[in-house]
């Protein structure tokens, strides 16, 4: 199994200044799978993606992608590695000064010497795959949120990456767009033979499409398993998260001093 792993995260610690974010994380993403990383807001999920992408360096441990330790690469090595990765940002991050067509064509023009006619065909194929071939001469501002997300998805897979990362792909989408994007994540992964990592807190949608799930809380992995295992799990944290309960291991109240003292009420 480990020889088949595309990404290996080994004992990773990370802290912003002195605020610890991740603490001894171990993960393995096998080739061809779709993996979800879940957890509450601000638990370090996005940080994890940045570590894989090489935007951040771990304080301890390493992230290994395709046999290479990311933090040991120099700038050129990192850029070579990133050409094999795609990342979909939370709100798409389409280039607002370029048309949909130019957005999807961006990486092809930057990284390849393909003739413009070939780029044209490739761009339309990518847009067709997300069902938006008709939008190619619109500007990003003319798209709805769900459409923008799909165009961004087409741009992410423009160079057929081996690893696709999704940062909150479901945030702020209506139910229809949400399941469209969810199904695209799965079908593009299988069509390209890629490996996908989805960082999300949308439990129901991800349970439908992923192969394996990691739960992170307070910088450590608190639970992991296949969707079926997660649904059946009786761990209090997983139960609270999957069913969206208000109170549980993740408390409703931010830590504070005694309530009655704060209100100056004598008990």
């Amino acid at each position: 199994m480990s020889s088949q792993a595309l990404v290996e995260i080994h004992e990773v610690n990370f802290a912003y200044d002195s605020r610890p974010i991740l603490n001894g994380i171990n993960m393995t993403f096998p080739k061809g799978k779709v993996i979800a990383i879940m957890g509450g807001s601000g638990c370090g999920k996005t940080t994890l993606l940045r570590l894989i992408g090489g935007a951040l360096k771990p304080a301890h441990g390493y992230v290994q992608v395709d046999g290479q330790k990311i933090h040991e690469l120099d700038r050129q090595g990192l850029y070579r590695m990133r050409r094999k990765m795609g990342m979909l940002f939370q709100f798409g991050a389409l280039f607002t000064d370029m048309s949909v067509y130019d957005n999807v064509a961006f990486q092809m023009r930057e990284h390849t010497d393909l003739p413009e006619e070939l780029i044209h065909d490739l761009v339309l194929m990518k847009l067709h795959a997300v069902g938006l071939r008709g939008t190619h001469d619109l500007m990003p501002a003319e798209l709805s949120g769900g459409m923008a997300r799909r165009v961004a998805l087409a741009r992410t897979v423009a160079l057929d990456p081996m690893l696709i990362m999704y940062d909150e792909p479901f945030a702020g989408l209506d139910p229809i767009s949400l399941s469209v994007v969810g199904n695209l994540i799965r079908s593009l992964n299988d069509a390209l033979g890629a490996t996908s990592v989805v960082v999300t807190h949308d439990v129901q949608e991800s349970l439908k499409i992923v192969d394996y799930i990691y739960f992170i809380a307070d910088g450590v992995i608190v639970a992991e398993g296949t969707p079926d295992e997660i649904r059946a799990s009786d761990k209090p944290f997983v139960h609270q998260f999957v069913h969206g309960e208000m109170d549980g291991p993740v408390p409703f109240h931010y830590p504070a001093s005694n309530y009655s003292q704060d209100l100056n009420v004598q008990a």
Binding site: Y79, R83, A93
Partner: protein, 262 residues
């Protein structure tokens, strides 16, 4: 206690300022270092020349015309007292070519194009477009920042020259056409006193320096702005304030170097 606290605030501000200066310098050097792409793919610069240079044309031409007309009017009123109205041409041209053209064109450029650059790059950062570009293995300094920088450096001297020409024309309209100063002495006095090397080339050098300063400040503020709405609006304001001050201070320094002694 309040004294030590105040000292600490001053100290940390000072350290911060030095830190930021160093970061800005590194940013500036990186722009120069990664400029190769801009010149190999010149259409990147052309696109930015349009949004910074061409879009500033109207304001520069109109402002230049009116500044020249004011100079013509004021200059005439002053020179008349000494009976040397014929020197109006040299007064208008010298003030424009040496000072007002480069300085005012750069100030207008800072508020018209510089602030737009800051806002654009700040928003690209806030909407993760810069991060997205880095994740696509494209260097945003080479692809986004450097073309804007060179477009600014090319635009400002051209705009300053247009400003000066429009100003001379405005001075001519008021002085010669409206007031009736002799056209011959207007032009010949002008040509006698305005020296190509001493006045015009120095004016061009000034406007190139201003162009570098304004665009570098605008791009740095945008690139360094906090990725929030307030962050971007604050950075835009800082761009206008800082580049205006930089223009005026640099103008004094350059003038002291260029025109000392005569």
């Amino acid at each position: 206690m309040p004294i030590t606290k105040g000292l600490r605030t001053i100290g940390s501000r000072a350290v911060n300022a030095v830190w930021r200066t160093g970061y800005a310098t590194r940013f500036f050097l990186m722009i120069l270092f990664y400029s190769g792409t801009s010149f190999r793919r010149f259409h990147l610069i052309v696109k930015e020349l349009f949004s910074s240079g061409v879009m500033s044309l109207i304001i520069i031409l109109v402002a230049g015309m009116f500044v020249g007309m004011v100079l013509g009017l004021q200059g005439y009123e002053t020179l008349k007292r000494y009976g040397s109205e014929s020197a109006l041409g040299s007064l208008v041209a010298l003030s424009l070519v040496r000072e007002l053209g480069p300085v005012l064109a750069a100030l207008l450029f800072a508020s018209r194009a510089g602030s737009a650059m800051t806002a654009e790059i700040g928003l690209m950062k806030a909407t993760e477009q810069i991060s997205a570009m880095e994740m696509m293995a494209v260097n945003p300094i080479a692809r986004v920042v450097a073309p804007r920088f060179w477009a600014g450096v090319i635009s400002v001297p051209l705009l300053a020259a247009l400003f000066s020409v429009m100003g001379v024309f405005g001075g001519y309209v008021v002085g010669v056409v409206l007031i009736g100063v002799d056209a011959g002495s207007f032009w010949s006095q002008m040509q006698d006193t305005v020296d190509f090397q001493h006045d015009i080339l120095n004016g061009v050098i000034k406007s190139v320096v201003f162009g570098v300063a304004v665009t570098a400040i605008a791009l740095f503020e945008g690139y360094d702005s906090p990725p929030t709405a307030e962050g971007v609006s604050g950075a835009t304001t800082r761009t206008v304030v800082q580049s205006s001050l930089a223009i005026l201070i640099l103008d004094f320094i350059l003038t002291a170097f260029m025109f000392q002694g005569d």
